[in-house]
Every structure is written in C-alpha cells, then in structure tokens.
C-alpha cells in the first residue's frame, strides 16, 4: 500500500515521562491520593508530597476518566481495590500499601490490574454494589453508559449481570450512580438537552422517576450525596444547582464561577465545584453561599474528590496540577459560624476598618459613627467612639498594635488608643485625608503618616504611654515628586533616622531625617534618594525599614508592590556629615503572588526575617511569611483589595483578618499554629496548550526543554528519564513571559541563543544560562513594532549560527511573507536582512527548514497552507556585510507537494553527491519524501508520497540527528517512527519504512523535538495539551 512496508516488530517507542490534564482523582486513605495522568495511575502521599507509585492501567490510546474506590477492604493486608475507567474500557486495580510506623512515607508494594474490559458505550460513571452471586453476597460493578444505560458486571470476568436501559436514550455528558446494593441503584444522567434524568436500574420499564429541569446549558457533571438525599449538577450555564433527590425540588442555584463548571463533589456540609475558570468553589450546603474559592489551576479543574473523613479535597487541573485543599477544621471559611465574627449589626455600610489589636476593630460607618467592636464575640454591642458626620460616605483608616487612625473628609484624623479608652481628634489637614498609615515603635511610640494633597505627606509622632495621655506632634512634611500619588506605603526606622514612602507609580523615596529637627515649625523634607520605578509601573503599596546587619550606617528597605513582587534595597550613606550622598541599591527580589502585595506586617521578633506580606490574588487575602520559601500562613476569601480590610498580628503569632464579604465585615481569627493551608502535590505545567518545544541543553542524561504556547509564557522543563519517581521525570524549572499573546515557535541557535516567536509578529531573543534551567531575556523588554507585526509568525528556522556574534534566521508569517533576520547574540537586537517582497506563496506560510550543503550554500525550504513547497537560496544574503533589506529572490524550486497545509518540513543528511532528502508532513494526513540534487539549480530526483501515513493531520516531523529515522506526530495522537531507506532497485531513490508506532496521551500534539545523547539514546518530546517524552 503506497510503498508503506510494515515493520511493526520489536519495541515501540516507550513513554518515559508525561504530564497531561488530571481528569480524575480519588482518595485511598486520608493521606493517599490516586490521580489519572493519561492512561497512567499515580499514587501520591499527601504528607511527603511525593509520588509513591504509578502504573499504566489502561491501553495507551485510552485516557482515564474515572477512578472509584471500593469502600471496604476485604483483604486486610493493606490492599485497596478500585475500578479505573476511560472511554469504553474499564479495569479493576489492586494497590497494596505498607504504611510504615515510623512516620515515613507509605510504600506501594505493588499495583496489580485485572483484565481490561470493554463496555458497549462510553462509561460515564461507576459504582461498586453488593449483589447476590450464587447465593452469596459479592461485589459487582455498576457502570453508567453514555446513552442512558446501566450495566452491572462481575468484576473478574466482566460478565454483565444486569443491563438496564432508561426509557429515554438521550446522549449524556455526565452521570452519577448511587446505592450500595443492586436493588437500590439509582442513576442520574445529565443530558445534552439541559436536563438531569433519574431512574432506577431495577425498574424494567426504565421509567424516568425524576426530571430535574432548570439549567440553561448542558450538564457536565453530577454528584450525589453519600446519604442519597441531594443531587448537585454543574453546567455550561456556569451554575451549580442543588436538588432534593426525593422531590426533585431545586434547592439552590449557585452563581459565582466565571466559566463553565465541569465537576462537583458533595460533602456533608459543603459542595465543592471545579470549573473552566481554574478554581474550585466551596458552597455551604445549607445556605447555598459561596464560602471559599481555591485557585487550583491555570486552566480548567477537571476533577475533585474528598478524603474519607472529609478533611481534604484533592483537585486535578487541566494544566496537570494536583492540589490539596483542607476543608473542615483547617479551613476558615467553612467554619465561619464558630470562628469568625460577622459584624452584621453595623448601621450602614462600612467605610473603613482598622484593627487595634487581635480582638478590637475600629470601624467607620456610613451611619456617621466611629465604633469599637470586640471581635472575639459576635453578640457584643459596639461602643461608640466618636460621632463624625464626615465619615458618611468617606473614611480611610490604618492601624498598628494599640493604635488606630481614621482619616476624615474634613481633614481631621481620629486617633484611637488604649484599647479604645482614648479617642482624640487631630486637625491635621485642610482638605480630606486621602491616605493614612501608622507604624509602631514599641513603648507607646507611633508614627502617623497622613496626606491630603497628592505630593506631600505629613509625618506626625504620637506617644501614648500606658497610663499617660496621648501626645501628638507633627514632625515634618515629606515631599514627593509633583503629581506623585502616595499609596499609604510608609515606614520609619527604629531610631527614626530614615523614613521611606512609596507611590502609585512605583517610586520609592527615602528620607534621611536630621537629628536636630526644629520644634517651632514643621519643616518640609525632600527625599535623600529615590528609585523611580522600584516596582516597574505598578504601585509600590507597602514599605518597611529594618537595620541591615552588614551596613551599620545604612538600613535595608523592604518594599512590596502591585506587581506581586517583594524587593529589598540597601540604603547607605557615604561619608559622615549631613550632606552625605545616599546610595540605594536593590539587593534581592522575590515573587510572592500573582496578584498584589498590599502590606508588610511585623509578625515575629524572634525570626531573622520577622515580616509577613498581605497579598490579594483571585479574591483571596493571603498572609505570606517572607522567607527563602514563602509560605501562606493564612488565606481567606474576600471581595477585593479596594474594599476595607485590616490585618493584625498578636504577640503570640495569632492573626486577625477583617475583610468585606457580600457587603458585610467579617473578622477571622487565625490560630498561631495554622500550617500553610493548601499543598501542591503536582505543580501545573502550562497555563495553555503548548505550541512549540526545543531542546536547549543536554547533560548527564538530563534534558532541558524550552516550551511555549498560547499563554505567551516560555518555560524551561527539566526531563530526567532516569528519575525513579514518575513525577520528577518532568518538571518546570523556570518560566518567563515576554510575549503578549500566543507563542508558536521556539528554536535554539548557536548553543546559547533561543529565539521565540508568535502572534503579533513578535520575535524575542533569550540567552540560555549556565546549567540550562533558565532563559535570560535579551534586549529591551519594550520592543518596538517589527515589520510583520500585523501577522503571526508561524515558523522559525536557523540559517546560520556559525558566527559567535550573530545568528541569521528565517521567519514565516501568516501574511504570506518570509523574512530573514539577523540577531545579535549578546544584545538580542534584531535587524531585517531580507524579505520575500513579492510574497510568492500568496497564502499563510506554515513551515520552514534549512539545509546546509557541502559547498557551504544554505538553502531554505518553506511550505504553505496550499501545499506548495519552495526552496530558496539564502547563501548570498548571509554573506552580505551590511544589513540592507532586500528581496530574497526567486525560489530555486517550487512544487505543490500536499493537498492542503504543509505543517512541517525537515531535512536529512546531505548525501555525498550533493543530494539531500526533504520530508514534509501535511494536513492531508500525508507524508512526502523528496530527494533533491543541487547544482546551480535544484533538481527533484525522486518523490514518494505516503497518503495514509496518519489518520489525521500530520502536525510535526523531525529527522533524528543521524538522519536515519523520521518521527512524525499527528492529531490522531500517534507517534510514528519511520526508517529512511532506499528502494531496492535504485539506491538514489529514498523512501520511508514504517518502523514503530505508539499512542500518545497528548491531545492536539502540535510540537515535537528530538534529542540524542552521547550514548545514542534518542528522546522525542511531544507537546500539545500536555507534554509527553518518549524514548524511541
């Protein structure tokens, strides 16, 4: 058939590492989770956070869609029995665990699987049921199938004991089963017609017993509570609906997810739903209120499961991540009733809140009152501290342990101290107080910073000795640059020799305070030194000063910004006198959050780094302890950073967090010993589909692969085929973002230069750091618009990387052009060498390849959406000295080799007689192999076509380094290895022989790269929706 000679013998390519969407999770014990990774089952220990076992349990072309544990253990020797199913296949897996006594990680002794059985139709759900078998009770497996069918099977033989068909045969997107015995087996099916159907498996008529109507979209997921009383359904309409299973009554419609909802699980007190928006939401079953949001994944959350005792929920993401979230005891929101105080009796809306200490909140309300609330009780009446008509509609507040300040519209500041025993109103400004900040120095000494105008901050000193009166004195006006906007970021050093402020434009200003400040008037001070964009263009939202050990004459300034970064600067005064030059240098930087850093909190005197940061990200306020490995010590859901909030820390380390939720103020008490509240068992790989991969370094049986895709990020992945644990064979080492939108190509040139390209005509250069784990951006972050900015770059091929200073490469564009670029390897500067001025392809150019001939000539091959392949001579361009844009010139050869798009071209070794071999893979499922001879022209010697090389579009092809084998991948999810050979009768006519084949678990594979190490082992990295590495 078409010259394809089958040689499917020997070993097929072996999958050695993989990370694909987690489509199913299940708990074996309170601490052991199993998850699906394609056809592989992984066993995770939640204590050590390690993968303790893994096994391929379904055929390679089947993805696991469900795991269901049998709820009792009959064999008492640590054997857990579960069914694993995907598509139409199911099997029973036995896992034996040894739980070691000495707190070590449990050991998976073995994973054994039974036969893989086939169901008649797609399996949507499975449930273990008790049934009578030869007069004895036995376990059977009930399967809900996609056309409203249920079969109950014997688990060993797969024999069908019962097959029941619902009276309706609608196609189901989702199903759930309930019942411990075959007699009580109830089936719930979520149809494509937006309905949930309930019927009894034992009812011979298959009559629908309940029909739950209300969703506006198809039902993607269903859950039934353990007691069988409640059904939850999730849908395309972005809602979760909760139904009474007996009456069919709709109990709650839960709005909140920002995209489609895929899955749900019902616990005793809450419902957890997972959505396309990447979050899990936790809903109170009684009230229907959303009590928590877990940012699980960069992409969809496909699966969630609760631990047997319902203390943990594991959630699996579309980015391959597996997260662990505590419910119950450690989760604040879920036990809000006991643990948090909801200040619901406030008359009117809350305008501002500050915490005096962990138990007292000062609140300014729209009812013109400044009140003191004792937050440890829910019932106590608030105490009126001041009646201030000015706080109707406007107030700002800040607090430090023992002191709170509320700024008002009339320019006055109400200061509350001594546990609310002292209230003083200070007339500080003539206009409304826009920002206020308080810093404590101990022994009743405080700094108060207030501003009414945008460019000047008033610094006042407040003393409030335990038994004495409250004294206040303005110290100085601190000038900012004109039109700068102070964010409330202020800090003073312990000896008050330094003050630092931050602005909305990211500037850091440091003031050196003279020892002899005048007492009779308030002087105005200018910054001694500034960093204009300490946080880029993001606001510098908080600052703290501490003495640096190393520099006795200087201090260290810690800043947090709305870019999510924490930076440390050293401030050093050169020389001894007052006019000394002040130098600020950045010492460190650290990313704390994907959102905003809003405040720095002094939490622990005894620590080397006594600070924590208050951050806001995805509607959660998190307190993160700052260290080499920042960890969240508290995290609560809240509305937004712009709403009033406050955080206080007690000397014991206990935290109090006050946030606005649903228009009400909630005060959460966080115990001191609370551990980080969530854990990541597997880190997410990529936020979006991967579109390009390139090996950037090979060393010591390890590979570093740069991968990029639709999310604009470029990640470096480390592949360790020899690693024992399945999870550590593939991990993300670093990531960076310089593309605004999708990246389509990544190539390595000159050993250390990486070029990435994609939408918006974007071309970026990177340098591979020593070790290979990081890519350092070259050139200015703000790139000027390059020619071709209106189009997408579809492919990049290196033409010449022999020079150490420059690399020439060609880029193919969606505007039908090809452009040749010269990149400076040290600066990343790009110059356009030449372009295809006539745009001869006349359609989107999809693929490029280069071949260097023995005589030094460099040919470029290009393929387009219409199947045309062209060969260009670029030698002349590369030998040019000056960079003058010119036309690439006419192609040397042009021919239609595919019916539709040429997705990939690659060239193999140059033959001795000056001939070379070109392979191409197309959207038409076809591979072609062409042999060319070159003199002053290009001559096609022979061309072979393999029409049915794949069942679907060929996406990428690559020759191995020795040119003896060709690897192709296609959207049919097959990886095929072809052997390059010659026809028997003609040794110049090259052809391909089918060598090996494997199924890949990576859907929509659009990228492929090969790497051969010094021992001759070749790895193939396939990327698309996930990444898989094969040894071929």
């Amino acid at each position: 058939m078409d010259g394809v000679k089958e040689l499917c013998k020997g070993i097929s390519p072996k999958s050695i590492a993989r990370q694909v969407p987690v489509t199913s999770v299940e708990f074996l014990t309170e601490t052991i989770v199993v998850s699906a990774n394609g056809s592989e089952l992984r066993v995770h220990d939640t204590v050590s956070k390690r993968v303790v076992g893994s096994a391929e349990v379904l055929p390679g072309h089947v993805r696991i869609h469900g795991i269901q544990k049998r709820n009792d253990r009959i064999e008492d020797d640590g054997v857990y029995i579960l069914t694993v199913f995907g598509a139409k296949s199911w099997t029973v897996v036995r896992i034996r665990l040894t739980l070691t006594a000495d707190d070590k990680a449990p050991v998976v002794d073995w994973i054994r699987q039974g036969l893989v059985h086939s169901a008649e139709d797609w399996i949507k759900a499975a449930q273990w049921v008790q049934m009578a078998c030869d007069g004895e009770q036995a376990w059977g497996l009930a399967l809900a199938l996609a056309h409203c069918q249920v079969t109950v099977c014997e688990t060993e033989t797969g024999r069908i004991v019962l097959a029941a068909q619902c009276a309706e045969r609608s196609l189901l997107y989702a199903a759930a089963l309930w019942g411990h015995t075959i007699d009580e087996l109830t089936v719930a099916g979520g149809t494509v017609f937006n309905e949930v159907l309930l019927w009894q498996a034992q009812d011979p008529t298959g009559a629908v017993s309940q029909r739950l109507r209300g969703h506006d979209g198809v039902i993607f997921g269903l859950g039934i509570s353990a007691d069988g009383s409640t059904i939850a359904s999730v849908s395309d309409d972005r809602t979760v609906r909760v139904w009474n299973k007996q009456t069919g009554e709709l109990e709650h419609t839960l709005y909140g997810h920002g995209a489609r909802v895929w899955t749900c699980v019902i616990l005793d007190r809450v419902i957890v739903s997972g959505s396309e928006d990447g979050t899990c939401r936790v809903w109170d079953r009684r009230s229907g209120e959303c009590v928590d949001v877990w940012p699980q994944s960069a992409k969809s959350v496909w699966a969630a499961a609760a631990s047997p005792q319902q203390t943990l929920v594991a959630a699996g993401g579309g980015d391959g991540s597996l997260g662990l979230w505590p419910v119950g005891a450690r989760q604040l929101a879920a036990r809000r009733v006991e643990d948090t105080c909801q200040l619901g009796s406030l008359g009117g809306g809350v305008r501002a809140v500050a915490l005096l200490d962990c138990g007292a909140a000062v609140v300014a309300t729209d009812a013109a009152r400044i009140e003191l609330h004792v937050t440890t009780r829910n019932d106590g009446e608030p105490r009126l501290l001041a009646h201030a008509p000015e706080c109707r509609g406007y107030a700002v507040a800040a607090g430090a342990p023992g002191l709170a300040a509320v700024g008002l519209r009339d320019g006055s500041v109400v200061v509350v101290a001594a546990g609310g025993g002292i209230t003083r109103r200070l007339r500080l400004h003539a206009a409304a107080v826009q920002r206020v900040a308080v810093a404590a120095h101990g022994n009743g000494a405080y700094d108060l910073f207030t501003a009414s105008a945008t460019d000047c901050v008033l610094w006042s000193r407040i003393t409030c000795a335990p038994a004495g009166p409250l004294l206040s004195a303005p110290v100085a006006w601190l000038r900012l640059t004109p039109r700068a906007q102070w964010t409330g970021a202020a800090g003073a050093s312990a000896g008050r020799a330094w003050v630092a402020l931050g602005t909305a434009h990211g500037a850091l200003h440091v003031y050196a305070i003279p020892v002899d400040l005048p007492a009779d008037h308030t002087p105005a001070l200018s910054p001694a030194a500034s960093v204009p964009h300490a946080h880029g263009h993001a606001a510098l939202s908080c600052v703290a000063i501490r003495h640096a050990d190393a520099a006795p004459r200087g201090v260290a300034v810690l800043t947090g910004g709305r870019d999510g970064m924490l930076r440390a600067f050293s401030v050093v005064a050169d020389g001894g006198d007052a006019d000394a030059a002040i130098r600020i240098t950045q010492i460190t930087e650290q990313r704390l959050t994907g959102g905003w850093v809003e405040r720095l909190l002094f939490i622990d005197q005894n620590q080397h780094m006594p600070w924590a940061a208050v951050t806001f990200h995805r509607k959660r306020l998190a307190v993160i302890r700052i260290s080499a490995r920042p960890a969240a010590i508290a995290s609560v859901a809240c509305a937004a950073a712009a709403k009033p909030w406050a955080v206080a820390c007690a000397p014991t380390g206990a935290l109090t967090v006050a946030v606005m939720v649903a228009g009400q103020l909630r005060v959460h008490a966080v115990p001191a010993a609370m551990a980080a509240e969530s854990a990541e068992l597997v880190a997410g790989l990529s936020a979006a589909d991967v579109r390009a991969v390139a090996v950037i370094r090979i060393s010591d049986r390890r590979l570093w692969v740069a991968a990029a895709g639709d999310d604009g990020h470029v990640r470096v992945l480390r592949v360790q085929p020899a690693a024992e644990s399945a999870a550590s064979r593939l991990c993300v080492e670093s990531e960076a973002r310089r593309h605004v939108s999708a990246v389509r190509c990544v190539v390595l040139a000159a050993a250390r230069l990486v070029v990435t390209a994609g939408a918006g005509g974007a071309l970026r250069c990177w340098h591979v750091d020593d070790g290979g784990g990081r890519l350092r951006a070259l050139g200015d972050a703000r790139q000027e618009a390059l020619p071709g900015a209106a189009a997408r770059v579809m492919a990049v091929a290196v033409l010449d990387d022999s020079a150490s200073t420059h690399v020439a490469f060609a880029a193919a564009y969606s505007d039908s052009s090809i452009r040749v670029w010269l990149a400076d390897t040290s600066t990343g500067r790009l110059e356009l060498l030449a372009h295809d001025a006539r745009r001869l392809h006349g359609c989107c150019v999809l693929s490029l390849a280069t071949v260097r001939l023995a005589d030094g000539r460099v040919l470029l091959l290009s393929g387009c959406t219409r199947g045309q392949m062209m060969v260009w001579d670029t030698t002349k361009l590369l030998n040019k000295k000056a960079c003058v844009e010119e036309d690439i010139g006419p192609p040397m050869w042009s021919c239609k080799v595919h019916q539709s798009g040429i997705n990939s071209i690659d060239t193999a070794v140059v033959l001795q007689n000056g001939a070379f071999v070109v392979a191409s893979g197309g959207d038409d499922c076809c591979l072609t192999l062409s042999t060319f001879a070159v003199d002053s022209h290009v001559h096609l010697l022979s061309q072979q076509r393999y029409e049915f090389a794949h069942a679907s579009a060929v996406q990428q092809i690559r020759f191995t380094r020795d040119g003896c084998r060709l690897v192709s991948v296609s959207t049919d999810q097959r990886l095929v290895v072809w052997r390059l050979g010659t026809e028997k009768d003609n040794n110049l006519s090259y052809c391909l022989y089918l060598h090996h084949m494997a199924c890949s678990q990576v859907a929509d594979p659009s990228a492929l790269c090969l790497s051969t190490d010094s021992e001759g082992t070749t790895m193939a990295v396939v990327a698309g929706i996930g990444i898989e590495v094969f040894e071929i």
Partner: protein, 291 residues
C-alpha cells in the same frame, strides 16, 4: 480586541458578513460542492443541526441553480432559527422518529437526495470526549438519514479528525459506497474539523432503519486495528479554489481596492448563550459583593 481585529484575522468571517451569510461556514459547504458537486440534481435536501442557518442559506440559493424544478429544503434544529426564504423549518430532535416522519411529510412522502449536518457539540477541551460526542452526533444524524435519504443519496457532516476518527470512518463505510474526508480551504488549517462526504447511500441488505436504538461507533478490532495501515482509511481531499482566500492568512483590510473597508456587524448575532444569566449577574456587579 478592536472591532476590526477579527476581520483582519479571519478573511472568511469578513466575507461572510459582506456577502450576507449567517456564518462563515457557508463557504465550507460551497467549497465542498465545488469539489464533489453534491448539489447536482438535488431537489430535496435536509439540513440537520441547521442553526444559525448558513448551510440552509447555501442550499436554498444553490439548489435553484442546479435543478430545474423547485428544490425543497428542510432545516432541522432543536433551537429556533430566524426564518429563511425557501426553507421549511422543523424545530425538533434528530433522535426522534417523529422528526424523520415530519421531514418525509414535507417532501410529500419522497426521500431526500442530500442530507447535510454542520452540527457540533459544546466543545469541552478534553479532545477524546469532544470527539466521542461529535461522533455520536454524526451517528445520530446518520441514523435519521437512513430514514430519509434515498438510495444513492449523499450525506455530508462535520467531523473532528482526532485519535479515534477511524472508528467513525468504519461505521460510515458500512452505509455508503464512497466516503471521502474533505477539508475546505475556508476551514482553518489549525482546526481539527473536516467534512465527511459520503456518496452513494447503500445500506447493508439486512439493515432496517430503527430510531429506537442509537447507532454506535464500531470498536477497534482485528479488521480495524488501532494503528497500522490495516485500519480503515478514507481518502483526503482538500477543496476550494486555490486562487481563493486562505483562512489562515492575515489579510490587510482593503482586499478590494474599489471598495474601502468598513466594519460590518455580524449578520446574525448569537441568541441566548447558556451563560446569559451568569453574565447578567456579572454586569449588575452581583459578584463584587460575593466571593
């Protein structure tokens, strides 16, 4: 995104608006016809999963050119669709026998010459699931087609060329003498969609159309293995004029120099998305006060 960026990115989207088609998919059917001449001699055509109606538009316009009589077009969809001249609409479920009977009754008892289906499910992003659901949709369309299509008739449907497309080919080849998979140039290269063009309807001798049982896709087995060249294969044909527009190419907005570009709104805006209520709540700032 600016208003014109989708116009810039997708030339067929722009052309569809300019030429008054309800969706860009109209060009796909036109291009399939260019290659396979499926409209030749057709007087009775059925459009399954018709909404928003661009294929019905094409059928009602093109059939007039090809056949001398008065061609009849029946469009079936679950959703309501804006009326189209010359097209009889049935709002119904394609898995119901009553729908098949309704179609036949509109043809005065005669069977259709051509059945087309451009239906696609709500794509989830899990490719194996999406491909399965799409295959079930096609098999449901095939099932109703076996009730309404005359022997020798043609069936055209959208498919996803994913990992198990072979299973679908195997099933379709049981019912049709020739089966091709067509990729119109107006369908993006990056899209996994293609169109199955099944000609010369010829059901197995013992086949009795039965709406009560859904048609199932056949499993992989010895005669249809997972991999290898022994699997069922279907020829691929790219269709559409090579000189025509390229769906993947970035065009400048002024393709026609005689007429400068101006932005047009879509011919038919989407009706009632499932997330309408959720979106309304978002717009009314409901979420700002909750988690």
């Amino acid at each position: 995104m600016g208003k014109s960026s989708k116009d810039k990115r997708d030339v067929y989207y722009r052309l569809a608006k300019e030429q008054g088609w309800r969706a860009r998919s109209a060009f796909k059917l036109l291009q399939v016809n260019e290659e396979f001449n499926i409209f030749q001699g057709v007087t009775r055509a059925v459009d399954l999963c018709a909404a928003p109606g661009s294929w019905s538009q094409v059928l009602s316009k093109e059939l007039k050119k090809n056949s001398p009589g008065d061609p009849q077009v029946v469009a079936v969809d679950l959703q309501a669709m804006a009326p189209l001249p010359g097209v009889v609409q049935i709002q119904g479920d394609i898995t119901k026998l009553s729908t098949a009977e309704q179609i036949i009754s509109h043809f005065d008892g005669a069977q259709a010459d051509l059945v087309v289906s451009d239906g696609a499910p709500d794509v989830t992003g899990l490719h194996d699931l999406d491909e399965y659901i799409q295959a079930q949709l096609i098999l449901a369309a095939l099932n109703i087609t076996t009730h309404v299509l005359r022997p020798g008739g043609t069936f055209v449907a959208k498919i996803f060329r994913g990992k198990d497309v072979t299973l679908l080919y195997a099933q379709l080849k049981i019912f049709f003498r020739t089966v091709h998979v067509a990729k119109p140039r107006s369908s993006r290269n990056s899209s996994i969609e293609a169109f199955i063009v099944c000609m010369d309807y010829c059901p197995p001798a013992d086949y009795v159309p039965n709406m009560a049982n859904p048609l199932m896709d056949v499993p992989y087995n010895v005669s249809n293995p997972v991999v290898g060249s022994n699997r069922v294969i279907v020829p691929f044909v790219a269709c559409g004029d090579l000189r025509g527009f390229d769906a993947d190419m970035t065009y400048s907005l002024d393709t026609d120099e005689s007429e400068p570009y101006h932005h047009r709104d879509p011919t038919q805006s989407p009706i009632n998305p499932p997330y309408k209520k959720a979106l309304e709540l978002k717009r009314s700032n409901y979420y700002n006060n909750t988690l």
